[in-house]
Symmetry: C2
Subunit: 155 residues, 2 copies
């Protein structure tokens, strides 16, 4: 994966328009990564142990939703959403739509939904995006709808 700072073009608010799309690189998740994240942040049986997970709602080991969110962010920061000044979120919505399983290969496709210059701060604006995390079967496993703070191009 390339580091975000090596991306060729970085987008200011002025460069973004509704309907623009960006695509990230991909990342494959191992069972050990799922368990390691869960041990620190989400120690529940369905994220920690294959056998215990089979008896739960998830019917098998599944990644923590917060792990899924963090992976989406890592893919966007590493070139999947090349915003000038970096990816700075004020908040947003998240929906977990299907379990993420060991061995899944994920990438993120982002579409720009709203672009709103700030009325009070002339150097920035707000962008709403929809970022779908998609697995190797083409299934959307997570949809994130972040509100981002994006700088205007310096004049």
């Amino acid at each position: 994966m390339s580091d975000a700072t090596t991306a060729e073009k970085r987008y200011y608010l002025d460069d973004l328009a509704v309907g623009q799309r960006f695509s990230s690189g991909s990342r494959t998740l191992s069972a050990e990564e799922i368990k390691s994240f869960a041990r620190e942040f989400d120690p529940q049986p369905f994220h920690l142990d294959e056998a215990a997970a089979r008896e739960t709602f998830f019917q098998g080991l599944a990644a923590s939703g917060w792990h899924a969110a963090a992976i989406a962010m890592s893919l966007m920061v590493r070139g999947g959403l090349p915003i000038a000044g970096g990816i700075i979120g004020a908040g947003g919505e998240i929906a977990w739509r299907k379990p993420i399983r060991p061995g899944d290969t994920l990438h993120v496709e982002t579409e720009i939904i709203e672009v709103t210059p700030s009325r009070s701060k002339p150097d920035r604006g707000t962008v709403v995006a929809r970022s779908d995390t998609i697995n190797q079967h083409g299934e959307i496993v997570q949809t994130l709808t972040p509100r981002l703070i994006v700088p205007r191009r310096p004049t």
Copy 2:
């Protein structure tokens, strides 16, 4: 921190009501933890390096928002929201309200906002909660509004 499985009472849908409140233990975040999470999931200057961070929007090192979300989850799983069957989220909203700095001590206060039995699945329902992450100054740094899948008490 106690493990969630040692919590005395676990709440089924039938035990939850609008306005009920739960409080978590607390956790202090170091600069190294902030940087370590960022190196893996959110490698941007304001999460990685004190000096570089001073020149950014955050004006100093700040935790990744996804680190903040994961910490809130860890506090809820470890006794802060003792739901029977575990904390299973379908999604929700997140708002990052203030930066989280190195040395901050965080806890989570959760209030139950909605309790809705499923019409199609008699063994479960949906709960909406509001979970504020609060720092040592009493400031709300993050508000998470999860939609949770909660089992009904077995009859």
